[in-house]
Symmetry: C2
DNA sequence: CCGCTATATAAATGGGCGCTTATAAATGTC
DNA sequence: GACATTTATAAGCGCCCATTTATATAGCGG
């Protein structure tokens, strides 16, 4: 009952912070970029596809960064035998984008309120 | 001429990283949130409006966080006398959102190409 | 069981970040 | 000029993060 009222609770900012910090690294941005172009990928293939400053990224480092992304909920993993296939959680990623958007333009403003701007019929509940 | 071709150059990731790290802090998220609701604001008023864990944020800390956001290009400042009015650079913020979007869904896919939507000779995305 | 492969974890290290306290710099007021 | 106000910067500190190297876990094939 502390933050109450509107949605800008501290918890929301805390969660957003975690996701942003997980994304705020060049190696992890590359990982996300590669995962975004493939439905699934095992760790070794991913590591061999990551060339960042003209250098490969070592396997333990890829594993460590993947753990960070997984902790942030951005990457899901599926074990099969000794391989671990990882994929981008696009829903979570989209949620992050939405939270970032809401931060500067609260949902209350985006969802066209009651009043329609006298030209367009309001399309309020069209939100997905 | 190093990275050429597609937009996923290392520099882009580096810049995105800087912005994401600037945003990846609870205090700075609050600052952005407050600035998003006001066109302009001097530092003292901003500090007095920031209550984060039930505690105020000290003036030097606000100034320090503002410097971080300014370095990332997310806030602009305008001096008038001894006050410094700061505002959110919404364009830059939107650019960040766009870069994040492009990361998982390259612009080539989003920008509906030349083909007219007439008959839908289905080709590219079909993806949700 | 033994080796091989795939992945994760530990230890060690360097560096940067967030915070506090104190102080400086700049500007307005009397 | 003395003083108050606004903002920035410096020093110090603890902590977390990114990286490397080395090693552990676990499945697989002979």
């Amino acid at each position: 009952m502390n933050e109450s009222i509107h949605g800008s609770g501290a918890d929301e900012f805390l969660e957003l912070k975690h996701v942003l910090r997980a994304l705020g690294d060049v190696v992890r941005l590359h990982i996300v970029s590669v995962l975004a172009g493939n439905t699934e990928m095992n760790v070794t293939d991913l590591a061999q596809m990551l060339i960042i400053n003209g250098r490969y990224v070592s396997q333990p480092l890829v594993s460590w960064h993947l753990a960070t992304l997984r902790r942030a909920g951005l990457v899901q993993v599926r074990r099969t035998g000794r391989q671990v296939y990882c994929s981008l959680d696009r829903e979570r990623y989209a949620l992050c984008l939405q939270m970032l958007g809401d931060l500067v333009q609260p949902a209350a403003l985006r969802a066209a309120p009651v009043i329609s701007p006298a030209g367009q019929p309001d399309l309020s509940p069209a939100r997905q």
